[in-house]
């Protein structure tokens, strides 16, 4: 009876306050994205109107400049004229490779950490925690000079392996806690039946580990997809991925940019993430809480 009665007995005042709060949060969380999506179909003098903010709603300048209240100039400019599709391709290569390699190394290591009862496994996890806290830019500052010297700078494989390494502490922690939930008896009985450790891992653990691997993979994907620090400083201009390219659309002190290209590119880069949450909301939520609630 308890839970239902509690919720029914709540005063209406409290319901109103908490509902308003949640509603307010929903608006704060979603409106910036909706507004940017809307604005990406306008011209710059409407979306960033100096004269009247309602221009962004009515598309006054957009109608004058392009003949209609909506325009796709930002998108065609970014994707076709500025070759943003190349950056998208680079992102696809970097992200896919990073996720696959991270998970391969991470499942092996995470499994070992979960099954080893020794003290050093604990210390390895602690060291991984300290590594996770390192600001990525300090690591990049360590790579840059040797990479220049050895001609490793600017290539996609270098960036991929760096992202894999930066990703490892988190991947190890996450997979370690997932493997702890898989009963030890499972692989130990396989070993009693004559498998060695790797065969037991391959035949018994691998088939049941996919939920954990998928959740961890989602976060590896996000780390690689969202990275700016590593990709901005380690990739040459022709190998640039999407995020640093968006920043270069904004222009710098040396060159003029086109803000509307950046707006269109921002919408383009957000769309896959939107789809990702749509399909994997449950896994993302469980991944965020895995470390906290169970540990």
């Amino acid at each position: 009876m308890s839970a239902d009665v509690t919720s029914q007995r709540r005063s209406t005042g409290l319901v109103v306050v908490s509902s308003v709060l949640v509603l307010l949060w929903v608006v704060v969380a979603s409106f910036p994205f909706l507004w940017t999506l809307w604005g990406s179909f306008k011209v710059e003098s409407d979306f960033f109107s100096r004269t009247d903010w309602t221009n962004a709603l009515n598309g006054t300048r957009t109608t004058i400049e392009t003949g209609g209240p909506f325009t796709t100039n930002g998108y065609s400019g970014a994707w076709i004229d500025q070759d943003f599709w190349r950056n998208a391709m680079n992102t696809a290569i970097v992200v896919t490779s990073t996720v696959v390699i991270s998970l391969t190394l991470g499942t092996l290591g995470g499994y070992a950490l979960a099954r080893s009862g020794f003290r050093y496994a604990f210390w390895l996890l602690m060291i991984a925690l300290v590594f996770r806290a390192m600001p990525h830019i300090t690591l990049v500052s360590g790579y840059l000079l040797p990479f220049f010297e050895w001609n490793l700078w600017g290539h996609l494989p270098t960036t991929i392996i760096v992202l894999v390494a930066i990703n490892q502490p988190f991947t190890l922690w996450m997979l370690h806690s997932f493997f702890l939930q898989i009963p030890k008896d499972l692989d130990e009985s396989a070993m009693v039946d004559g498998c060695n450790r790797f065969e037991a891992f391959w035949r018994v653990i691998v088939p049941v580990m996919w939920p954990g691997v998928i959740t961890t993979g989602l976060f590896s994907f996000l780390l690689a997809y969202n990275d700016f620090t590593v990709t901005a400083l380690l990739l040459s201009r022709e190998n640039q991925t999407m995020v640093p390219r968006i920043v270069s659309f904004l222009g710098s002190t040396f060159e003029a940019g086109n803000v509307m290209f950046a707006v269109a590119a921002v919408v383009s880069i957000t769309a896959p993430l939107f789809v990702l949450i749509l399909f994997f909301q449950r896994q993302i939520v469980s991944g965020l809480t895995a470390g906290a609630v169970k540990g």
């Binding site: 308890s2 509690t6 919720s7 409290l14 908490s18 509902s19 709060l21 949640v22 969380a29 910036p32 507004w35 604005g39 960033f48 109107s49 962004a56 391969t104 991470g106 092996l108 290591g109 070992a112 080893s116 009862g117 020794f118 003290r119 602690m126 300290v130 590594f131 390192m134 600001p135 830019i137 300090t138 690591l139 500052s141 360590g142 790579y143 840059l144 000079l145 010297e149 390494a165 490892q168 790797f198 996000l222 969202n226 700016f228 620090t229 995020v243 920043v247 904004l250 950046a262 880069i269 993430l273 939107f274 949450i277 909301q281 993302i284 939520v285 965020l288 906290a292 609630v293 540990g295």
Partner: protein, 343 residues
């Protein structure tokens, strides 16, 4: 698991972390002890009818050749750390002597690049972390009381600010708050001050960066708290109700203590992430008024001339900051571990 098997399983992961996390840390320590070669100066004697004059010129080719041959520079000990761009020992001493009070001292300190970044970074950590926790808890309590049909969509929308690329999330907010953006013009209309803008006002820039910080990390706190709320034991709640506790008292004395371990976890993750605040500063184009330690390193690395040594020194100082930040956590874990007796 035998040591040998463990070793082979963990090896690839360990190699990757050693090469690309541990070695770079050693590398920045090493680089920070060097300083770029000075320009090569050539002294030549010009003799004319009225005697000889000595002329000093910079040999550009020789300088470039020397710097290319030894990009690390020459050994300089700790001098990079004490120069004006970092700990600025002399300058701080002078400021301390000249300043009239603590407020004056701090505001003068803000002119030194390292201290400006340090003060912004620490203020960001100190302001964003607690606000994130409070807002996350409030949303979690609110969503927990919603009818079931609304919960899924609310969580979906809430995940957006956290999942989205930090550079992109910050840009999306920046474009709205900018002078010509929708919130920027609204702010000008409300205050009646048409010159008010992010570009012109440093405090406003700091505040908007804090807002971005809370906006982008509150979802994380929310999700963790929300999951925690699903496991609140019902018995103490009922007992409290029987004893006549109000809803607020039940939250204060039953729910919040239950969520305390989660708060430690959220605070730890937030401290680590907020200390390396970087991307929003790039998106807000705010490096001049609100640099963070990470931003200063980035700025040294991407300029026309890459200042490896300067970036490395800031990196080492930043890493020290992270270690100081994590020490309480590590000590606590160590205590827990030793009292439990380990394995």
């Amino acid at each position: 698991m035998p040591h040998r098997t463990f070793f082979w399983f963990i090896l690839p992961s360990l190699v990757a972390m050693t090469l690309f996390i541990f070695v770079p840390i050693v590398s920045v320590v090493f680089q920070s002890l060097y300083v770029e070669h000075e320009q090569v100066v050539v002294v030549s004697e010009n003799c004319g009818p009225f005697g000889c004059t000595e002329e000093t010129t910079i040999d550009q080719d020789a300088t470039r050749a020397l710097r290319e041959a030894e990009p690390l520079g020459r050994f300089a000990g700790l001098s990079v750390y004490t120069d004006r761009a970092h700990l600025a020992a002399d300058e701080v001493g002078a400021i301390w002597a000249a300043s009239t009070g603590l407020g004056d001292f701090v505001s003068r300190l803000m002119n030194l690049p390292f201290y400006r970044a340090l003060i912004f970074t620490l203020s960001y950590v100190a302001i964003v972390t607690p606000l994130t926790i409070v807002l996350g808890l409030a949303i979690a309590l609110g969503v927990n009381g919603l009818p079931k049909v609304f919960k899924g969509p609310t969580i979906f929308v809430s995940l957006l600010p956290m999942i989205v690329t930090p550079v992109v999330g910050a840009l999306v907010l920046y474009w709205m708050m900018e002078q010509n953006g929708i919130l920027g013009s609204a702010l000008q209309a409300i205050t009646g001050d048409p010159t008010l803008s992010l570009r012109a006002s440093a405090p406003l820039t700091w505040i908007t960066l804090y807002i971005y910080g809370v906006w982008s990390s509150a979802p994380f706190a929310f999700i963790v708290y929300y999951a925690g709320l699903q496991t609140v034991p019902q018995e103490p709640l009922e007992a409290a109700m029987v004893d006549g506790a109000s809803r607020w008292e039940r939250i204060r004395y039953v729910v919040i203590p239950h969520l305390a371990p989660l708060t430690v976890f959220i605070a730890l993750i937030q401290l680590m992430d907020n200390f390396r605040v970087f991307e929003p500063i790039v998106s807000f184009n705010a490096g001049a008024v609100a640099p963070s330690l990470s931003y200063n390193i980035y700025n040294d690395l991407r300029g026309e001339i890459t200042l490896f040594n300067s970036a490395a020194a800031t990196s080492v100082l930043t890493i020290l900051g992270v270690v100081i930040l994590l020490t309480p956590v590590l000590l606590r874990t160590w205590r827990d571990f030793t009292t439990k007796g380990g394995h």
